[in-house]
C-alpha cells in the first residue's frame, strides 16, 4: 500500500494534473479528501473527475481494477458512494477511489469503456442503489427482476421477509395456503 505520505503525494499529483488539464481548481482539483486507515489508502474525489483520476492512477501503475461497489452512507449526505478498488500487481499496492453523490442527483460517469471489468459491477450498483452511470453501454437491473421498483440495498429500504411462525402468533398469521 502507499503509506500515508505516499498517499498525500499521490493526491498532490492528481490535483496538479487536474489543474493542468484545465478542469479548473474550483472543486479542489478533483481530490476532496485523503484517508489512510489500517494501512489502506483512499482518495475521495468528485464525480466529475472519476475517469481522469482512474486514468492517472492507471498511469502510475494501478492497472487492475479489483472491485467497484456501492455504499449507502445514510444518514450522512451525500448519501450514495461508489468505491473503486485499484490494484498494482507489480508492487502489490492497493488504493481506493471513493465518490459520493446525493440521492437527488445520483449521476456518476461510467468507467466501463476504459475498465471493462466495471460493466456488471456498475449495473449491480445501479440495481441496488440507484446510482446512474452516464455512458454505460447497457444500464439495466442485473440482480433483481427487470420490473422491480426500488433499490433494495439503500438503507431506508426495508429488509422484508416473512413473519416467523411461532406458537404464539401462529393463529393470527395467515397460512400460505389460505
Amino acid at each position: 500500500m502507499p503509506d500515508a505520505t505516499g498517499l498525500e503525494l499521490i493526491a498532490q499529483e492528481l490535483r496538479r494534473a487536474h489543474e493542468a488539464a484545465g478542469r479548473g481548481s474550483g472543486d479542489a482539483g478533483g481530490v476532496l479528501d485523503t484517508a489512510y486507515f489500517r494501512d489502506k489508502a483512499a482518495l475521495l474525489v468528485t464525480p466529475a473527475s472519476v475517469q481522469a483520476t482512474l486514468e492517472h492512477l492507471r498511469g502510475m501503475g494501478y492497472r487492475f481494477m479489483a472491485s467497484v461497489h456501492g455504499v449507502d452512507y445514510f444518514p450522512e449526505e451525500p448519501r450514495l458512494g461508489v468505491h473503486y478498488e485499484l490494484l498494482d500487481m507489480s508492487t502489490v499496492d492497493r488504493i481506493t477511489v471513493k465518490v459520493r453523490v446525493p440521492v437527488a442527483d445520483p449521476h456518476v460517469p461510467s468507467v466501463t469503456n476504459e475498465w471493462p471489468t466495471a460493466d456488471h459491477q456498475e449495473r449491480e450498483i445501479y440495481d441496488m442503489f440507484g446510482v446512474i452511470f452516464d455512458g454505460h453501454p447497457d444500464l439495466r437491473r442485473i440482480l433483481m427482476p427487470e420490473d422491480y421498483e426500488g433499490h433494495p440495498q439503500r438503507r431506508d429500504f426495508p429488509v422484508g421477509g416473512e413473519p416467523v411462525f411461532f406458537t404464539h402468533n401462529e393463529p393470527r398469521l395467515p397460512r400460505y395456503t389460505q
Binding site: 489500517r38 483512499a42 481494477m65 455504499v71 471493462p116 459491477q121 447497457d138 442485473i142 440482480l143 420490473d147
Partner: protein, 422 residues
C-alpha cells in the same frame, strides 16, 4: 381447443419479451453478408449444463456462437442486505452461504475484514487451523468442479469419484466443526473450536491417499482423446483481456500470469508454507483444467505442512471483548459472564471505518468490504465475488466457437451462481 378459463392472478402488464431482447446484434459483423440467419437461443435458467441458475442468451449462427449475454439474478438472496441487519457474529452464517462451495473462504474474507477494522490479532494456531480448513475447502471445491465439469463433457463416472473424495473431506469438516457444509468454523478472531483428537491423523490419512486418487483422475482424463479434442485450444483468451475484465484465479493463472494472493500478499500465515503456483501457457480450457488439478496437489502440500508445524496456543483471540469466553469460565468469573452476555445479545461494537480484505478463494480474488459505523451491526457488507467478475469474460471466451464448446467453457469457467447473485 378451447380451455375453460380458470382463475388466474392478474399478471403485471410488462413487456417481458421486449425487455428480454437485450442482445445487441449490431456489433456482430457478418461475413457472407447476411446469408446465415442469427438465432437467439435462450439457455434458460433451468438447464442441466449450467452450473446453477444461469441464463445465457446466445446468438447463434448455425452452430457457432456469435454472442452470449449472461443474465443473472435468479439466485439473488439479498445476503448483503440481510447482513446489515444482523450483529457481526450472526453475519458469519449468512455470508458463508454466498459462494456455497467455498464456504470457509467467505467466512475468512468477512472475518479478516472485521479483524482489520478491529485491529485484532489472530493467534498463530488459529491461523494455521484456518489455513488447513481453507485448503481442504479448496480441494473440495475443485473436486466438485471436476465432477460437474466432467459430467458436462460426458465423462459421467468422474462425478461419482469426485463426490466420493469430497465426502471424505466433508467427513473431516464434520469432525472438526460438526457440520458438513457451512460450518461457521472461522470466527472473528480465530476459529470456533480446537480440532479434536484424531483429526490430525484422519487428515494425514486423507493426504497420503489423495494423491493416488488424483493420479487416477489424471490417468482417466488427461490424455483422453475426447477430452483433448474438446478442451484443447478452446476458449482461449489472452492475458491482457482477462486483466482488463478483472479476472483472477485459475482462469488468469492458466494464461501464464502467476497472480495468487497467497503468495503476493500473504494473509493468515500463508508465507510460512512452501508451495508453488501452477500456471498454464495458452489459457485455453485444457490449461484451466490442468491448473486446477495441480492446485489440488499444492493444497495438499500446504495442509501437510500446516499440520507439521501446527503451533500450540489459543484457537481464538484471548480478547474477551470479541470472542466468547470458554464455558468453564462462566461459572467462576463475573467478567466472563458479562462478556458472554454482551457478545451473545448485542454483539461487539466495531469502531467506524471501512475495510476491504481480499483473499484468494478457489475461483479468484474474493474480498469483503465492510463499512462499520460504530454500532454492533455492519453498515455495509459487500463481497467482491470472483465468479461475478469472471463471468464477464465468458462472452469473450466463447466468441466464435461451437455451442458444445460453450458448454465446455462454462464448465471450465467454474461459475458459482451463489456468489454471482449473492
Amino acid at each position: 381447443m378451447s380451455t375453460p378459463e380458470v382463475r388466474r392472478p392478474s399478471a403485471p402488464q410488462v413487456p417481458y419479451r421486449e425487455m428480454e431482447e437485450s442482445v445487441e446484434l449490431s456489433h456482430i459483423a457478418h461475413e457472407g453478408d447476411g446469408e446465415q440467419e442469427l438465432l437467439t437461443l435462450n439457455l434458460g435458467p433451468h438447464h442441466p449444463a449450467t452450473h446453477g441458475v444461469l441464463r445465457l442468451l446466445t446468438t447463434l449462427e448455425g452452430e457457432v456462437v456469435r454472442d452470449v449475454k449472461p443474465i443473472i439474478g435468479y439466485l439473488h438472496t439479498g445476503i448483503e442486505k440481510t447482513a446489515e441487519d444482523k450483529a457481526y457474529w450472526k453475519v458469519i452464517p449468512v455470508i458463508e452461504r454466498m459462494d456455497y462451495l467455498s464456504y470457509y473462504f467467505n467466512a475468512m474474507a468477512f472475518c479478516g475484514a472485521v479483524e482489520t477494522l478491529l485491529d485484532l490479532e489472530v493467534p498463530p494456531r488459529a491461523q494455521y487451523l484456518r489455513v488447513i480448513h481453507l485448503e481442504l475447502n479448496r480441494i473440495a471445491s475443485h473436486l466438485i468442479w471436476l465432477a460437474t465439469g466432467a459430467l458436462d463433457l460426458g465423462a459421467i463416472s468422474i462425478f461419482w469419484y469426485g463426490w466420493r473424495d469430497r465426502d471424505r473431506i466433508l467427513d473431516l469438516f464434520e469432525m472438526s466443526s460438526g457440520q458438513r457444509m457451512h460450518t461457521r468454523y472461522i470466527q472473528v478472531g480465530g476459529v470456533m473450536e480446537d480440532i479434536p483428537l484424531g483429526f490430525e491423523q484422519r487428515v494425514r490419512d486423507f493426504c497420503s491417499e489423495f494423491p493416488s486418487r488424483l493420479d487416477q483422475f489424471e490417468a482417466l482424463i488427461d490424455k483422453n482423446q475426447i477430452v483433448l479434442q474438446r478442451l484443447r485450444g478452446v476458449g482461449a483468451v489472452d492475458e491482457q483481456t482477462l486483466l482488463d475484465l478483472g479476472v483472477t484465479g485459475p482462469l488468469l493463472r492458466a494464461t501464464g500470469n502467476p497472480w495468487d494472493l497467497r503468495k503476493a500478499a500473504p494473509y493468515s500465515s500463508y508465507d510460512h508454507f512452501d508451495f508453488k503456483i501452477p500456471v498454464g501457457t495458452v489459457g485455453d480450457n485444457y490449461d484451466r483444467y490442468r491448473v486446477r488439478m495441480a492446485e489440488m496437489r499444492e493444497s495438499l502440500k500446504i495442509v501437510e505442512q500446516a499440520l507439521d508445524g501446527l503451533p500450540e496456543g489459543p484457537y481464538i483471540t484471548p480478547d474477551r471483548k470479541y470472542a466468547l469466553p470458554p464455558r468453564h469460565e462462566l461459572a467462576t468469573s463475573m467478567e466472563a459472564l458479562i462478556h458472554h452476555f454482551k457478545l451473545v445479545t448485542e454483539g461487539f461494537r466495531v469502531p467506524p471505518g471501512e475495510a476491504y480484505y481480499p483473499i484468494e478463494s478457489a475461483r479468484g480474488e474474493l474480498a469483503c468490504f465492510i463499512r462499520a459505523d460504530g454500532s454492533s451491526k455492519p453498515a455495509r457488507v459487500h463481497m467482491r465475488d470472483p465468479s461475478f467478475v469472471n463471468l464477464q469474460a465468458f462472452s469473450a471466451m466463447v466468441q466464435d466457437s461451437y455451442l458444445a464448446d460453450l458448454i465446455a467453457t462454462l464448465a471450465m469457467l467454474d461459475p458459482i451462481l451463489g456468489g454471482i447473485d449473492r
